[in-house]
Symmetry: C2
Subunit: 408 residues, 2 copies
């Protein structure tokens, strides 16, 4: 008997019929003697409906009230799924983020989970109940409703699995696993049987959109066994996210090509090349709760350097506003920026021991006449920023260049 | 400067445009220097949408999960109204029933308010905030979400006014006050400037539908000054619900004709006429949380009597099921019942000192050939149960017989 946390996304619970399907799947696992905690998102379309309503009233909805509002989406789903489970003869009980309780900080619309009280869930499980928990939401110390931001239901699932020391956390979605890249762009893209946490982190953060990055961080930190599965297929074992030292890993050098069109780049020209300057620029940005992704600074000359970074497009204008007084203060020459960029990355743990990955990447792009605007690398990935209009082309040629359509 | 609790029903907040109108009205009161607590219902149609969704999954939705689900309706409205108030430059803050907190018992779908923690509201008011509270919902000791049942938002409003010792509780609705009867049936029906709490209790419980009965009980108990107003008219002072000893009362004998089509009658024939028998019959019904309205028992003969009562139609089948074993136990002869009945009542505090009200009522109905099935009286009302199909006719002829179309 295992304790399994399952998470079903918006499309998987997009109608009452689909919710009944989810209930049947849960019932099957339950019939095998497993204890189940099920995390659900809002029904597909519901969050957008609520956001649209809010924007009819306030062009930029107040963050606290926004969370009060959108958190109702999951609250409806937990009740419906609990009812569907009862219809199948199971005992079930729903909990909102406030009820569990999933304690977060008070950064409305992008809160972070700090602690989960799992006592109530444990006693329900012990009494034979399936526990249904609202994803995406929590509560701060003062009792305010918070939400975790887009994709936060994955994080809820993994955080619950960690708190409960679950045997596995299964993320059900509308794809049947993690692919070498987006199959809508490269039809030959191949499902990976396993992927390492580190690769997954790079893939998720770079926009593969299968799992939300924070959920993977959580999973890695607490060693939660994470599996991505399709909620629309009866069979299939999806993609298991493994720890690097695990055996039976596919021995590919590159696991996949990730890309992201959600970013904007900001370059500050003529920055005095002295200690502390990076902090002077990025400190105020971070203070405004804006996440910075890539940061690039090259060797300076004549005491000056250029400093570039990327932020989410939603934070682009705000970042520029924040930088205005900073620019004056540090006496930077100018700022150039743009939000019609895309980031494309090749990811793979095998890269560590193989030279030449970056040069293959750059050559492949050059052959297509694609100009590289920024480059950033980590142990297991090489990312480039290019003009947004080349993103599909770049992904296709890179996928082919690294032979990703071939089974390992 | 007064502390005013305002409550807006579903039609008053039925669209984002209407919510903005409510915000403007609240802002006007606020500009006059008043402190405001605003209670809102779910947007019109939203509760029905949620109920329909639930019934797609479970024909008889689990009561706990049902409350989790339908309580989202008001949660959406509080966020939208708070945003609308901020758009007008006011400080505003929303609270769910859980957050306030509005502590109730755990009778899901029909919970009763036990206590309200008003500290948080008071400190918000002191800091110049308009406080927006979700009507209709609360939380039990164990942290489960509860709802107060249909019309419960009125009760929330009055209970908050009582807890905060507010100067007035204003109930905004789609009618501009309390009428002598339903104007849809009697176009000559007249708005009452004042009505006593006792009359209002009888009117509300008998189905006038302007205010939910429990809200009036609360108001009476805690001496909350209650006013019914239209949310669609700029002017108008509505109907003030007064204490009997108040002056300036209209001196009518009869204040109005109330009616109710939501009931079903159950008569147990041949009940042994001995002490304790009424309890043996109604005890199990009450234990099942079913409210009994009229109870009629006449003088017995031959040691036997007939025992009748009415319940809400939703509880009709359940009541009959509960009574089956009771019938056998007390050796009653038979049960006759029906759910195509209506109750019509004449209500008025003036009745106390005036004879002949009942006989005028019975004569008027007899002249129209309407058979009376049950009669029940109180100090300030006479109620009869008749065939449902005669209800409009009965209301019209009684309204005329008591001259209610004439201003006092």
């Amino acid at each position: 008997m295992a304790l399994i946390v399952q998470k079903y996304g918006g499309t998987s619970v997009g109608s009452t019929e689909r919710i009944k399907n989810v209930a049947r799947r849960v019932a099957k696992w339950s019939a095998q003697g497993h204890q189940l905690v099920v995390v659900v998102s809002a029904m597909a379309g519901e969050t957008n409906r609520l956001v649209a309503l809010a924007k009819e009233v306030q062009a930029h909805p107040d963050a606290r009230e926004f969370d009060v509002m959108v958190s109702t989406g999951e609250q409806v789903t937990i009740a419906l799924l609990s009812m569907a489970l009862m219809e199948l003869g199971l005992k079930a009980r729903s909990y909102t983020g406030t009820q569990v309780k999933i304690l977060t900080d008070n950064a409305f619309t992008r809160a972070r989970i700090m602690r989960i009280d799992e006592d109530r869930i444990r006693s329900d499980l012990a009494s034979g109940c399936v526990v249904v928990v609202a994803g995406f939401q929590g509560v701060d110390e003062a009792g305010n409703i918070t939400t975790l931001g887009r994709g936060g239901s994955d994080t809820t699932g993994v955080a619950l699995a960690a708190a409960l020391k679950a045997d596995e956390c299964q993320i059900y979605t509308d794809v049947d696993g993690v692919y070498t890249t987006d199959p809508r762009i490269v039809p030959e893209a191949r499902r990976l049987k396993t992927i390492t946490f580190e690769e997954m982190l790079e893939m998720a953060s770079l926009g593969s959109r299968v799992l939300q990055i924070r959920s993977v961080e959580f999973a890695g930190k607490y060693r939660v066994k994470l599996r991505v599965l399709s909620s629309f297929e009866e069979q299939g074992e999806g993609t298991l996210i493994t720890f690097e030292e695990d055996e039976n890993m596919e021995q590919a050098i590159i696991s996949g090509i990730a890309f992201n069109r959600d970013e904007a780049k900001i370059t500050i020209l003529g920055v005095p090349d002295r200690p502390g300057i990076a902090y002077q620029i990025l400190g105020p940005v971070g203070d405004a709760d804006i996440d910075v992704d890539m940061i690039v600074q090259n060797v300076g000359h004549d005491g000056l350097t250029d400093f570039s970074f990327t932020v989410h497009r939603n934070d682009y204008r705000k970042s520029l506003d924040i930088l205005k007084p900073v620019m004056a203060h540090i006496k930077a020459r100018d700022v150039v920026s743009g939000d019609t960029i895309a980031k494309v990355s090749v990811v793979g743990v095998g890269m560590r021991s193989h030279a030449g990955i970056a040069s293959t990447m750059f050559r492949t792009l050059a052959e297509e006449g694609i100009n590289i605007q920024m480059i950033s690398t980590s142990e297991i990935k090489v990312s480039v920023v290019i003009d947004e209009k080349y993103v599909e082309l770049a992904v296709r040629v890179l996928h082919k260049a690294f032979g990703l359509e071939q089974p390992v």
